[in-house]
């Protein structure tokens, strides 16, 4: 009985997804709130009485986002007779997730930004949901597939991507003679040397203290010089003259242009330094600019955003991708409800509100959003639209995110390598250290 219902539900979802290619949000709305119309009878019967326990971090960077999630959940839960409980934890979230995985209690849906590959054994197959959403939105960008598909199935659904913009003090750059943000890394170094001499150093987050910035900022530099962590076959590609060139560059950058503390920044340090007028450049999402508009109007006035500069290998943006996944101890009606809930909330019509509330903080991973009214109206954040197709996640040269790649991000191996180079002045030694770190992590992968 239950089994047949689940099958029919799955078929329904698939059908909805296929139809959605043409019909867009209308079909989805029917799927989302079948109780509303007289025709939608099969959906709510299955879901009614189900419970979804949701576990993730709070969107403390931008508190406006949580209410969007909550508001939708409340409506959706009422319409479908499903109870949705939210638990948001900022400290020890990992311990809480492991508890849920081991005991099968406490969480059905989890929200994380670490690579889902790390939880691969514990995540349910959400291919039907992801494929339906992909079809609706014009096919996931490579970053989304890379992050959430393990090569054979979708183990998570991408919620969006954070992009690291160049945050810079336009006013100070002007004083130093730059009307435009430098287009390549060589010019950037020249500008930084001048600005540091004028008392406005750059602050590029490197090192192994920043879990967010530290997994984006270093890659922008590494990739621009042609360095890569992996070959597509999964072997390590970090040991290259391109990596050494990037390290070489950062040694000069740190010495001539950088804030000495940039190699010890945690996630908040660059924000504070920038908003307190200590640094003139850093890589960050919009969480410097938005608070500045509120609390430090002079900084907000003087700053702007830019795409990262070009290097010998081209221009690269870096992103991290938060996702929602379903723990595989979730079964029966709860599983159906969890899938239906993600499917419905992630529909363009609903998720747009989420993106819009973020004002560029979190961007879509589906191309169809390009024409949706989700983009920030503030001209200083207009860059978001340019960045959303440019940015790549750590490890991107692989076909799919691997556990090793994910562990390298957790341990911030690449950022640590840059920091070590700046400290010792010896790129080769720093690279060898990173290779040793990677071979250590292979023990765990």
């Amino acid at each position: 009985m239950n089994q047949t219902k689940r099958v029919s539900r799955r078929k329904l979802l698939k059908a909805a997804g296929l139809v959605a290619i043409g019909a867009g949000a209308t079909t989805l709305a029917a799927c989302a709130a079948p109780a509303a119309g007289p025709g939608g009878s099969s959906g709510p019967v299955v879901l009614k009485g189900a419970t979804i326990n949701w576990l993730g971090g709070a969107w403390s960077f931008l508190p406006e986002l949580d209410p969007v999630i909550d508001a939708f959940a409340k409506d959706w839960g009422t319409q479908n007779g499903v109870t949705i409980n939210f638990t948001r934890e900022s400290t020890n979230l990992g311990a809480k997730i492991q508890t849920a995985i081991e005991t099968g209690q406490g969480a059905n849906i989890i929200q994380l930004a670490d690579a889902p590959a790390q939880y691969g054994k514990s995540l349910a197959d959400v291919s039907t949901v992801a494929e339906a959403l992909s079809a609706e939105g014009g096919g996931y960008l490579p970053a989304g597939t890379f992050q959430c598909n393990d090569g054979s199935r979708w183990i998570a659904v991408p919620l969006g991507q954070h992009n690291w913009f160049m945050n810079y003090r336009q006013d100070w750059f002007k004083e130093a003679g730059y009307d435009k943000f430098p287009d390549n890394f060589d010019d950037l170094l020249v500008a930084g040397t001048k600005l540091k001499a004028a008392g406005h150093p750059f602050g590029w987050t490197m090192g192994d203290k920043a879990g967010g910035d530290g997994n984006a900022a270093p890659y922008i530099m590494l990739w621009a010089f042609g360095g890569k962590e992996f070959n597509p076959d999964g072997s390590i590609a970090l040991d290259s003259k391109e990596t050494l060139a990037a390290l070489d560059y950062f040694i000069k950058f740190h010495k001539q242009a950088g804030d000495p503390d940039e190699i010890a920044y945690d996630d908040g340090a660059n924000n504070t330094a920038f908003n307190q007028g200590k640094i003139s450049l850093t890589a960050n999402v919009n969480t410097i600019y938005l608070p500045a508009k509120k609390n430090f109007p002079a900084v907000a006035e003087g700053m702007n955003h830019a795409v990262p500069p070009k290097g010998p290998a081209g221009r690269f943006g870096a992103c991290t991708l938060p996702w929602w996944g379903i723990l595989n101890k979730t079964t029966g009606a709860n599983l159906d409800a969890a899938k239906a809930y993600i499917r419905d909330f992630f529909a363009i019509k609903n998720l747009s509100k989420f993106y819009q509330a973020g004002q560029g903080y979190i961007l879509p991973v589906l191309p169809k959003y390009e024409t949706e009214p989700i983009w920030p109206s503030d001209p200083k954040l207009a860059i978001a639209k340019e960045m959303f197709k440019l940015a790549l996640p750590a490890g991107y040269n692989l076909k799919n995110q691997s556990k090793l790649s994910s562990l390298m991000q957790t341990k911030l191996v690449v950022g640590k390598m840059f920091a070590a180079a700046a400290t010792s002045g010896d790129p080769r030694k720093a690279l060898d250290g990173a290779l040793k770190d990677i071979s250590d992590l292979k023990v765990l992968a």
Binding site: I101, K121, D261, A264, A273, Q276, N328, K416, V443
Partner: protein, 309 residues
């Protein structure tokens, strides 16, 4: 003979005998704690020991793999650093808390204005929740806006450039040790003080009459008397220090470059960060011999000192 009342009396007598005889009252009083610890600690403990010999990953089954986890650990770079860090951290923090505690006790042993309030205030670092005191230290040492640097460099000009408190590997470890000392010193000082004040005045007077200098009198007369208390405090602190988790977890996350990774943190990161539950348990397993060695060593050192004198 078996009238109801005498039956009652016999039962009553039996019960009161149970509660009178030491051979039965002992186990009765011990049983709640014992049962609790069997269910909530001994069983989990044995289970965790078992896990350390398995390839248990989060969400997966536990297959017995013998000593494989330990072999893996010994070839895992951060593990070696963690062992060394933990030893350095524990030895330095303990030695300095011990000496500092004796010093603090001798300062407090002298009467001065406001002594009572000073004693109460002094305990603050020890009693404040570590989570919050660590946040304050983070704010004192934070890169960029370190008030410690601003005072030492910009205001007092003691140093010519900012100290890399959390940036440099050695400074980070030194900062961690310093905060551990800060947190533990009051406890050492106050308990040592109470112990010193418990030493009878006559004995000290006798030593003085014999012409012993205060230094000699302390080590030859006072210290042997307070030594049991010193041992207990050192023991408690050794266990707490080698297993310290909150401080590196909240302040440095084990960095930079694993320079402040300690046993509990590594175990936590492997278990919850990487989902390697078996391996995380194995890390803790290897902490026990070291902990035992440190405890035995500190006991022997204190005993030997006493015998030599």
């Amino acid at each position: 003979m078996a009238s109801p009342s005498s039956q009652n009396r016999t039962t009553g007598a039996f019960v009161s005998r149970l509660f009178y005889r030491e051979s039965t009252l002992g186990p009765i009083l011990l049983s709640p704690g014992f049962i609790f610890l069997i269910v909530m600690m001994a069983y989990p403990f044995v289970y965790a020991v078992y896990l350390s010999f398995t390839d248990k990953e989060s969400g997966g089954p536990a297959n017995f793999t013998g000593l494989e986890n330990f072999q893996k650990l010994f070839s895992y770079g951060p593990y070696g650093r963690t062992v060394i860090n933990s030893i350095v951290y524990t030895v330095f923090a303990l030695a300095l808390k011990f000496l500092g505690g004796l010093g603090l006790a001798s300062i407090l042993n002298r009467p001065f204005v406001g002594q009572r309030y000073v004693k109460a205030l002094m305990l603050l670092p020890w009693i404040m929740p570590t989570v919050f005191s660590t946040m304050i230290w983070q704010w004192i040492l934070a890169p960029g806006f370190s008030v410690a640097n601003i005072i030492l460099v910009e205001k007092l000009h003691i140093f010519s450039e900012n100290l890399p408190f959390l940036r440099d590997e050695r400074f980070a470890m030194a900062s961690l040790i310093g905060i551990n000392i800060w947190r533990g010193l009051p406890f050492f000082g106050i308990t040592f003080l109470a112990a010193i004040q418990g030493v009878s005045v006559e004995i000290l007077e006798a030593a003085k009459i014999d012409g012993a200098s205060p230094w000699v009198a302390f080590w030859r007369v006072t210290f042997p008397i307070i030594q049991p208390i010193v041992m207990v405090v050192v023991l408690i602190s050794t266990i707490g220090t080698i297993g310290d988790f909150d401080l590196p977890f909240l302040l440095t996350r084990g960095g930079p470059n694993d320079a402040t990774s300690l046993f509990s943190l590594l175990s936590y990161q492997l278990t919850f960060g990487s989902g390697r539950i078996g391996l995380g348990a194995a890390v803790t397993m290897t902490m026990f011999p070291l902990l035992t060695a440190l405890i035995v060593a500190s006991l022997i050192m204190v005993r030997r000192r006493q015998q030599n004198d």
